[in-house]
């Protein structure tokens, strides 16, 4: 029988707890191990944030982003938010993915600011992030955006999310936005579809 009989020792463990100083090591393996050891620890917020600002290895970045996301506080989210303006697409995507897994309580504050960001692209990404919030909270934030947003593409992104998770409270905001952008047929269509879907999913009284 060629299979090994049980009872043998597993190979020595790899990695281990590393101090915050190892985040500045020249070895990506050491930086990875350090990021993982500090993952989710509130006291490591500053170290993880500083490391993320300079880290070039995508694997270590991923561990740093997970580490900050697991801290699960508005401060952790605030450390990640600036990265969604990065010119590096993988870093931008990584930041969005990390924010998406954060608790709603941590995400809501930074998201409110992002929905008012001067950059159109950031506001579009923020609309997508709202999907991660509970439906009432997402509805409130996105309806606020629909009332003030000057860019049709941003409104369309909000309509797309509301079509999936919008509450009936969103119907007046969708209608008002459609009136404001009556000259933009694609947006009027998207807003109408969102409204129709919300109406179709509005529960009748359960018996």
């Amino acid at each position: 029988m060629p299979l090994i009989r049980k009872g043998g020792d597993a190979p020595a463990p790899t990695g281990g707890d590393e101090p915050a100083g190892k985040l500045r090591s020249t070895s990506p393996d050491e930086r990875w191990a350090a990021a993982r050891a500090l993952s989710g620890r509130p006291e490591a917020l500053a170290s993880l944030t500083a490391a993320l600002a300079t880290e070039q290895d995508p694997r270590v970045r991923e561990a740093l982003l997970t580490g900050l996301a697991r801290i699960g506080t508005p401060q952790g989210a605030a450390a990640i938010v600036p990265l969604i303006r990065s010119d590096d697409a993988s870093l931008r995507t990584g930041a969005i993915d990390a924010l998406r897994v954060m608790p709603a309580a941590a995400l809501a504050g930074p998201l409110d600011s992002l929905l008012s960001d001067p950059e159109t692209d950031v506001r579009i990404l923020a609309c997508d992030l709202a999907r991660a919030l509970p439906a009432p909270q997402a509805t409130r934030l996105l309806c606020g955006l629909l009332a003030r947003e000057p860019e049709a593409n941003v409104c369309a992104a909000a309509a797309d999310v509301l079509a999936e998770c919008g509450e009936p409270d969103a119907l007046p905001a969708l209608a008002a936005c459609a009136e404001r952008f009556v000259q933009v047929p694609f947006l009027v269509f998207a807003l109408r579809v969102a409204g129709d879907r919300i109406r179709a999913q509005t529960p009748v009284q359960d018996g």
């Binding site: 090994i4 049980k6 009872g7 995508p58 697991r70 998770c165 879907r197 179709a200 529960p203 009748v204």
Partner: protein, 282 residues
Amino acid sequence: MADAQPVTEEELRRLSEFLYRRTGMIFTETKRYYVQRRITDRMEATGATSFASYFARLRSDAAGEVEQFINAFTVNETYFYREDHQLRCLTQDLLAERVERRPRDRAIRIWSVPCSTGEEPYSIALWLLENWAQVDAYDIEIVGSDIDTRALKAASEGVFGKRALMRLSPELIGRYFEELGDEQWRILDDIRGSVRFTAANLVETAETRPHGQFDVIFCRNVLIYFDDASRRVAAENLYENLAPGGFICLGHTESMSRISPLFEVRRFDDAIVYQRPRAAHG
């Protein structure tokens, strides 16, 4: 009493979108019957009187409905040679890469996590003995791990019912199992002795790390049950537990690409698997 009205095309689309976002599972109009049955079951279980009220409950995850819903769409029972296309891939492609330029005295390590009551790690052992020509040339260590210690105890005992063996031929059963009567069979001691069972929680690094690095990990149908943050931690743990160039096989409805960018996708004739890059990128 549930409303047994068939779901509309629009309702099916919304439900499918929801399921896809949560699990990566895709159900189209061709699976309408399958989906309809499960929705009806869940509506009955929750007392929802319409699809709309059920969907509202699902979206708010009232009383943990999301987990119940996903459970209804997945097959939780396990049996020998389940998803055997991945086992074919193991012996036809994955191991060939893993033993390339490997000294004969270095053992091949395979991890089944979660292993439930042992069907998967024992299947790997049987499959290798039956289907891998080089099985005598290498030491092969198979480890099965699970968070459920009751399942691990059952796995160590190695006694299985008729249903667990349904995919095995009578010849295979005769070769590797001892009939106990009452439609129960015990896997031979030699095979039982070749699989080491351990307790491990995939999201606890302190529990996964001591297992060391593996050539191939089978991690099927568990990541879909984790929340997004836990999935990221599990992916990083699995990355650490893979040797550079090692492979991970997920369930057929799961996609690592939706969880983490740490792995590369490899497409083989029989399966799509994920690989830890040989050299760290960056």
